[in-house]
Symmetry: D2
Subunit: 131 residues, 4 copies
């Protein structure tokens, strides 16, 4: 399987910045592909889906099963946007050791692994087991 | 917004058939684009997503908001595969009058509108109101 | 298994009315039990759940597997409130031939079977098959 | 609002043990109420729901908004069962500082706060902010 870098973003402005950042940070042979997502709301709130899962589902449906990084952006000025618990569980399905970039609109970010964001994950095996 | 034709399928075999069928049936200026989806399971079952929603979310995240048709396939020999209720609600967010093709592996199908599959929909307005 | 009558409602005002209506309409040996639900929202919209599923999940977790009726209410003055597609799929898991009361705050209602609200359901068997 | 202690369990055997443990550990004026849940599956996998959310939704629908502890059990002999990411997000809606007991069938357990299981949560405020 090829590797992929889903790039979930609800901010059109920051997407090129995120994409450029990921391309600078990771070896060129990882790119392309890069997948973007967005929140998709529904008149019935629970039927919506987050940008992160949209990006991951796009990549999966195109044949990718391994990911290097995901970058998340929002319009919130004062917070690094972080993924919801459901998105963390979906990320975890495809590995625990890949990078989650949580950004602000000014382009600053913090980065954590999937396992750091979902410690003692449901479905865990081996070294991730709760001791 | 452009129109789009998401094509949800879990069967690699039937996808070209579905795509060809849709292209023959609809005016050429509707195509491209065509989006395919697949079921994406999770070790935590409720965190999975169906092929139909995957296809629609891909199309939405690429800027589409109007759909003409969705075609669904499976490996079930004896049943026309139909969408689950959640996928019907997500379809309905983007209109009630577009076509849902429910197919068998032999290429036969039945077709219904979204409204026929989700009568008296939640969030309904105007003529779809329950009388 | 006992039978149960989940009573999903977001309106505290109408709940006693619905409960009384169901008790008058159905044989007394069906009652109790009666379960009520409510919408439970989340800061991450897709993590919420509807009143109908809340009521059904309560009943299931108390050991019930068969239902006679569900009644849904809301504060909408001009519409009979109907269940979303996801709730219809969850209702259908426990039968297609039970009654869904869709009400207005004035106590008027329309009633449909689960199958009428989810025709050609996913997972269908036998006579519900799409012909 | 009263406090509550949802007790999600898929194992009928361990439920009385968990309930007794919680009752011994917490002041008696916290009890009752105690709510139990179970996994509720669906022929359409993503339409299912986990035991933890079922227990919490029951408590919410009965008027509770504050929780002290949740205990999770399963039949897995060798693992402390942990909640999925979606359940962590739903737990977090009602506070980050309450206790999650993750148990084995032999009655041993580890305990974490909601915040420990969902660090840098989506929707975070104040001291939980990502620094």
């Amino acid at each position: 399987h090829p590797t992929a870098s889903p790039c979930a973003t609800v901010s059109e402005h920051i997407y090129p910045v995120l994409a450029r950042h990921l391309q600078q940070r990771y070896p060129s042979h990882w790119f392309p592909p890069l997948f973007s997502g967005c929140n998709i709301e529904n008149v019935c709130y629970p039927m919506g889906v987050c940008a992160e899962r949209t990006a991951i589902q796009k990549a999966i449906s195109e044949g990718h099963r391994e990911f290097r990084a995901i970058a998340i952006s929002s319009d919130l000025q004062d917070d690094f946007i972080s993924p919801c618990g459901a998105c963390r569980q979906v990320m975890r399905e495809f590995g625990t050791n890949w990078a989650v970039y949580m950004t602000k609109p000014d382009g600053t970010y913090v980065v954590r692994t999937v396992l750091e964001l979902l410690p003692a994950p449901f479905g865990s095996l081996g070294p991730q087991k709760i001791q």
